[in-house]
């Protein structure tokens, strides 16, 4: 038994809100793997947001813009955000001494000016400790009624994150997912990363599954049963159908599409083909060139590309129906190695891999406790996936998808109060709810959205 027990690493500096973690919880046996609820002992610098000012009509929306920015920065999980302070307390001039006394390391100031049909948002990031402006920028905002208004503010928030940390943010993004309606059908919906603007995308009156964003976020590929059998379609964000992928391989279920980072190659699964089941790729641009990558009498499903496009992680049933495992292989096909902790003849259920945009981590879910519950796991490729980090510890948690910042994951959670989309910050382990109470599944986080 020695060496086959799960070694539950001590939780070091676990910083979590709303997540009761029992690091000492007994786990099932898992050979050769240590499982840890381990977080870097992270320190979050305090960032203050001074009330935004306005001019030439911009004063009407300055408070709203400021609120969106404050919420985005809080959601980035990189700062302790100090905002919503009364004007009388902080004034309109920058007072570094005041902010220093309040404990702020960063200060964000903003001014909104009416300009043409929209506004100009001038933002400065101040280094309170050094008492100087670290960075500033001007961002054009459309009219408030414009579809892109909030996204434009989110892009500003992401830029502030980049100024302060050097890393990309994820506020200017959307999440596509499935939701079950009262009629039992599943359709695709999208929601902004901050939980606003819930929109229905498809209206097929059918089963619709596995939405996935194209790398430029202009398209969503999905599988729909609208003709009776599952086929792959591309739609735009408003559900307009751009393409129906033909049944290139004859009869079979065409499911689980995934875009190559080049945006022109689509990987997908054919299950139950009379000829060959498994993972295929198709050249969308040239509309040709079906290629078989992996599969056979067993099924390989749910492909996901590494950000450099050289590798594919996927889910396989090759070790048995009831022991699906996560593997990776070269993206042109070839020898595959297991990424999830599996030893031949062993047990373990791992599924739904998603490769991080930073390339170093692969997230998936696994059935890893005695009650048969599912939790979100992250494998680090640098140590060969032999150390898994468990990011959830209550309820059921499935189908993780990476945010464009490579740091947050959205997943489908099931709690005593119902279902919902949840977001976990991989660095701190903080979990928050994005959309609760609805029968939602298979979220896919978009890349950073370019200006409309």
């Amino acid at each position: 038994m020695i060496g086959t027990r799960w070694r539950v690493a001590a939780a070091v500096g676990v910083m979590m809100t709303g997540l009761g973690v029992s690091a000492a919880a007994a786990q099932d046996e898992l050979p050769g793997v240590s499982l840890g609820l381990v977080y870097a002992n992270s320190y979050l610098p305090a960032l203050a947001v001074q009330p935004f000012t306005g001019a030439f009509g911009g004063d009407m929306i300055a408070p709203q813009v400021e609120a969106i920015v404050g919420r985005d920065l809080r959601g980035s999980d990189r700062f302790e955000v100090i905002d919503s302070l009364p004007d009388a307390m902080v004034g309109t001039q920058v007072d570094y001494a005041l902010w220093d006394r309040l404990g702020a390391v960063w200060l964000v100031t903003g001014e909104v000016e009416g300009a043409d049909d929209g506004y100009m948002l001038i933002v400065e990031l101040h280094d309170v400790v050094y008492g100087e402006v670290r960075d500033r920028g001007r961002f054009r905002l459309p009219a408030q009624t414009d579809d892109d208004f909030r996204m434009s503010v989110h892009r500003t928030s992401d830029e502030i994150v980049r100024w302060a940390t050097g890393d990309p943010g994820m506020a200017a993004s959307r999440i596509a997912f499935t939701m079950v309606g009262n009629d039992g059908n599943k359709e695709i919906y999208v929601i902004d990363s901050d939980g606003e603007n819930l929109d229905q995308v498809t209206d097929y009156n059918s089963l619709t599954e596995s939405p996935t964003w194209s790398p430029d976020a202009s398209r969503i590929a999905l599988a729909s049963w609208k003709t009776g059998v599952p086929r792959i379609y591309e739609v735009d964000r408003f559900g307009t159908e751009l393409r129906a992928l033909p049944a290139l391989r004859g009869a079979g279920d065409y499911v689980t599409p995934a875009y190559h980072p080049d945006g022109r190659t689509l990987a997908f699964t054919v299950n139950g083909s009379a000829s060959q089941s498994g993972i295929f790729t198709y050249d969308l641009e040239r509309d040709c060139c079906l290629a078989f990558l992996s599969g056979g009498p067993w099924y390989d499903i749910s492909p996901t590309y590494s950000p450099d496009g050289r590798w594919l992680a996927f889910n396989t049933l090759r070790f048995g129906d009831n022991v699906p495992q996560v593997m990776m292989m070269p993206s042109e096909g070839g020898a595959a190695e297991t990424l999830s902790p599996y030893e031949y003849g062993g047990s373990g259920f791992y599924a739904a891999p998603d490769w991080s945009p930073n390339g170093d981590l692969v997230a998936f879910h696994g059935r890893i406790d005695r009650r048969g519950r599912y939790h979100i796991l992250v494998a680090n490729l640098e140590d060969g996936g032999r150390v898994l980090r468990q990011l959830t510890s209550e309820g059921n948690n499935e189908a993780p998808s990476w945010a464009p910042d490579g740091r947050h994951l959205v997943f489908a959670g099931e709690r005593s109060w119902g279902f919902g989309l949840m977001i976990v910050d991989v660095a701190t382990g903080r979990v928050r709810s994005l959309l609760g109470g609805l029968r939602v599944d298979l979220p896919d986080w978009s890349p950073a959205l370019p200006p409309a």
Binding site: G184, K186, L207, E209, S210, W225, G228, V229, P230, A251, D253, V255, T256, T269, N271, G272, A274, Y299, I301, S302, N315, L317, D321, N322, P324, F349, A351, A352, H365, R367, G372, Y374, E398, A399, D441, L442
Partner: protein, 197 residues
Amino acid sequence: MIVRRFFVTVFAATLLVGACGGDPPPPPPPPQPDQDSLQRYNDSVAAAEAERRAEAQRLAAERAAEAELQRAVRAARATLEEMVFFDYDMSEIRDDAQAALRAKVDILRASPQVQIRIEGHADERGSTEYNMALGNRRAEAVRQFLSGFGLAENRFEIVSFGEGRPLQQGSSESDWARNRRGQFVITAGANAINPAN
């Protein structure tokens, strides 16, 4: 009332006057029955009756046979459409499912025009995309089982609905057990089902 009584009285008086008018004519002689023709007549009636009865019996028997056949066809159809169930996370054909599938084989052999779509389903647990594959594995296992008895594979198409079309909405073990299933839809030859001999 007075008026009516008046008319009755007048009518009775008229009858009395008429009866006193003279002798009635003699009645015509009754026809003498012709024994032979009577016999022929009776015979023909009996024969027609017998024939009608035989015809009725034949029709009844025909109807009964037809009803029996219809009943057998309905039973055969029900047998073809009978669901089979699977164990958790497995696509292996269980013993009870083998018996149900074996019964389908005999009917399919007797009904060469019949084609079937095998639908694989999974319960809600596990990964949604994995369940799409598992449902297909189950449908494929059923197709392999049936074609293992010499039935042409192209008589069967398969499709998985994953966990998306549950039979029961609940989340108990008994709900899940009902949702892990193979369903059968007759896609061709529905009017050419022959019961197994």
